[in-house]
Symmetry: C2
Subunit: 138 residues, 2 copies
DNA sequence: GCCAGTCTTGGACTTCGTCCAAGTCGATGG
DNA sequence: CCATCGACTTGGACGAAGTCCAAGACTGGC
């Protein structure tokens, strides 16, 4: 759990209480939190932490590749701490819940050159949509 | 080109000049416009049309399944008039340009039951990311 | 041509996020 | 152990994209 903190320190991060708290929140439960949810949980541990700092820190974690940003709709972005194992997402159209999934096959290989239009393709993102068991009942 | 208008009338749409204009804009060039771009083009044909109406009409077209909503990032949603032929998207990380692509293979079949967590999975969306030729040069 | 009821309008409001200037604080060198 | 400097944090203002609403306008059926 302190692996993340170690890595961050190794990357030259000045270790402040705010950054530690944000990192702990993400490292704690492996759910897909919005920035505001991260902020709420961070405030519980460190009441004075500001929204701006949470946004800054999340942005830095994303550009370091320690955390993934997931945009499934026009609502808030979500942050996925499981950045070191490649995976895709299953999203509930009802409540917005997200689960990590591991499909077989490699969609990158499924895009023929003729369909690349000269782009340098570096990444694929697969989003499955459906209803979670709870929302399917309703 | 008036197929769309026909279908809409068939679905009980009251045909107003505003709706006609929005439908024409989408049906015209098959690019992925943002709501504001649709509005701009609509204003060119019908100067009094309001932003709210464009949003309403786009929303209706989406729920009728005549147009697809594409959310690739936290910027504006884009609207894809090519809703009747299944396809996926290739997005430029630089300028945000979007192209329709047709990968081989069926990613829905690539998600084993054990990875579905009881969800009723109805749809997959595959987004390839990379740099378009122009942005790759920069 | 009238009328009911659906559509449109524009401005206020929300949500999510970014920016900034001023102040604070971590960690390195002495 | 302390001073110092520059990286971090703060909160409030700002911005983009979209939603909501009450009032008025228009379409389509009769």
């Amino acid at each position: 759990m302190s692996d993340l903190l170690e890595r961050l320190r190794g990357r030259g991060w000045r270790m402040t209480s705010q950054r530690r708290v944000v990192a702990e929140v993400l490292d704690g439960e492996h759910v897909h939190l919005t920035a505001d949810e991260v902020h709420a949980r961070a405030v519980a541990k460190l009441p004075e932490i500001s929204r701006a700092t949470v946004y800054n820190t999340l942005g830095e974690l994303v550009s370091l590749g320690e955390v993934l940003e997931v945009t499934t709709d026009r609502r808030a972005k979500r942050y996925d701490p499981n950045a070191h194992q490649p995976h895709h997402h299953l999203v509930c159209a009802g409540c917005g819940a997200i689960r990590d999934v591991h499909p077989t096959g490699n969609p990158l290989a499924d895009l023929p050159d003729t369909e690349r239009f000269g782009f340098t393709v570096s990444d694929v993102e697969v989003t499955y949509r459906g209803l979670c068991p709870d929302c399917a009942k309703a």
